[in-house]
């Protein structure tokens, strides 16, 4: 039945819009590029942007030295509160794990990392997911096919195919995007080398990385987090599609779900721990500032007398939300669409 679901998608307007958006995204991303480690720009006294004219290697080595210096400062942080302790420990570990104090060519990864979770990408993939999955069942109602599906032998297969697609399609879509970006970046910045070195070489606020990530493991985590976000949004979009009868209601529901966490950060009266979770782990901020989230350390929160790592807690919550979404869909199949 998955085949038929795809076919329906491809034959609908939404499907065509989704493809157009994806092509647009891949076209634009070719021109998106971060400041490389081997480049440096600064403003002079007349506030003009000037490029550092020194050789790239030299600039890169200087930047790298600065990063190490920053980590060294943090490794010698004063204070005995849990936060300082943790920062000190993290930084010392990082210093210990440094394989070489020389700059290594990481241009490919620097650019790939930038493109892999660029806000534009998240934005477009989320739009595509919302468009497709907010309509995945309401479209059946609108076209008058819901009654035929629900009175057929394979009704549950149809419903589970829809849910399955909500889980798989964002991953496939994002995966295809990453493959395209990989190839484009390969053409523009050479082969992916030195992926086994420390992640903070390509991350701007790398001193806050929680642990001794290599570039490869950091990228993997990042891709994982983004996939989790996209899939969760698609699953909830489908859920709203299953419980509403028109696409306006279901799109509204999905949008409220996406911005809910962000909106909660406006409610200053929330308990502090909850507030921290919302302000770090909301979908909007993860989409627009993934570098402020993935693999970072931003202190502890106290929940039920236990001190927990905020970002790790957020990650667990995000995973839990995905499972809640899947459970809600299954429950809807069993209860509401089988009333």
């Amino acid at each position: 039945m998955i085949f038929w679901e795809l076919k329906k998608m491809l034959k609908s307007k939404t499907g065509l819009i989704a493809i157009a958006l994806f092509v647009f995204l891949c076209g634009v991303i070719v021109f998106v590029k971060p400041v490389l480690e081997t480049e440096n720009f600064y403003r002079n006294d007349k506030y003009e942007l000037v490029a550092d004219r020194r050789p790239g290697e030299e600039i890169a080595q200087e930047k790298f030295n600065n990063k190490i210096a920053e980590i060294e400062t943090m490794a010698n942080l004063e204070g005995n509160d849990p936060f300082s302790l943790k920062i000190r420990e993290m930084s010392q570990e990082k210093l210990k794990s440094i394989k070489s104090k020389a700059y290594k060519d990481v241009s490919f990864f620097k650019v790939f990392n930038h493109r892999a979770a660029h806000p534009l990408v998240s934005f477009i993939i989320v739009i595509i997911s919302v468009l497709i999955f907010s309509n995945i069942y309401t479209d059946e109602i609108i076209s008058g096919m819901d009654n035929i599906i629900l009175s057929s032998k394979n009704k549950f297969k149809v419903l589970y195919s829809k849910l399955g697609l909500a889980i798989i399609l964002p991953i496939v879509l994002y995966g295809s995007y990453l493959i395209i970006v990989f190839l484009v970046t390969l053409g523009q910045h050479g082969t992916p080398v030195n992926g086994g070195f420390e992640a903070f070489r390509i991350v701007d606020n790398g001193s806050l990385l929680n642990g001794t990530f290599t570039i490869n493991s950091y990228l993997m985590l990042k891709v994982g987090v983004m996939m989790l976000v996209f899939t969760t949004i698609a699953v909830f979009a489908s859920f709203f599609s299953f419980i509403t009868t028109n696409s306006l209601a279901s799109i509204s529901g999905t949008l409220i779900f996406i911005v809910f966490g962000k909106v909660c950060t406006l409610m200053k009266f929330l308990p502090e721990s909850l507030f921290s979770v919302f302000s770090k782990g909301n979908y909007v901020d993860i989409m627009f500032y993934p570098n402020q989230f993935v693999g970072m350390y931003f202190g502890q929160v106290n929940i039920l007398g236990k001190s927990l790592d905020l970002i790790k807690l957020c990650n667990s919550v995000l995973i839990a939300i995905l499972f809640v979404g899947i459970a809600l869909c299954v429950l809807t199949f069993k209860m509401i669409l089988n009333k």
């Binding site: 329906k8 008058g144 009654n147 035929i148 009175s151 057929s152 032998k153 394979n154 009704k155 009333k339």
Partner: protein, 295 residues
Amino acid sequence: MNILEIKNLTKIYGKKNANDNISVSLENGVYGLLGPNGAGKTTLMKQITTLTKPTKGKIIYNGKNINDLGNNYRDVLGYLPQEFGVYKNFSAKQFLQYVAALKGLSGQKAKEKIDKLLNLVGLYEVRNKAVGKFSGGMKRRVGIAQALLNDPKILVLDEPTAGLDPQERTRFRNLLSQISKDKIIILSTHIISDIESIAKETMMLKNGAMLMKGTHQDILSSMKGKVYSIKTDQENEVMEIQNRYKVINIQRGVHDVTLRVVSEKMIPYPNSEAVEPSFEDVYMFYFDLENIQEV
């Protein structure tokens, strides 16, 4: 065995009894479901097709509750909903292929069945055209075809002839008669002649309750001797008759007026005579507009 038993079926929406304690047992053959708008025909069909569960009562298929049969029951079901839609960008053939997949048919068997049905409903020539471009009647024919794909044992058709031209309607009636010997076919309609010509038995629904169920003979004989035709040329008499009796039809001629009325007693007008009741009389008698509760 192919027996569908409906037992004390009640469906309540809010405060409204859309179906009110319906009990009936159905065997192979065509059953006509007759009733005015809002009588509860679609509601009854939605319960038979497992789209919604009864508030009270149950539906038993060959001795087992259809709820427990689940997909095994849906496997023998064919359904044409009243509000039947299609995927506009699919061709008729693709659409039927999709429904075949829904019903768990595949491969050569499905292909042959689809071609056969396309021929049967007269759409073979246009099978590759987008269904969205079909006329209303053509779409309905696609709907009839999809309901028949799995050779259903129970075929539920909610106003299948709405929008069909007379030629297609005849073709449809013949089709139903052909396939009805090993199926329970339930068909709702407002078109009395459909039921007259094909239904083995007719069930009349009114305000959610089953008013009567029987063959044409049964139903018509219940009206025998109660239908009169009165001829008059006095306008004030026409008024009087309308006030005193249930008038089914008023036919104005050049010089006089003929009224068709239903009455339990003899009619004391000189120019009146008892006439053979028709199905239309029955319908008008029971579903007199004034008696229909607002929905």
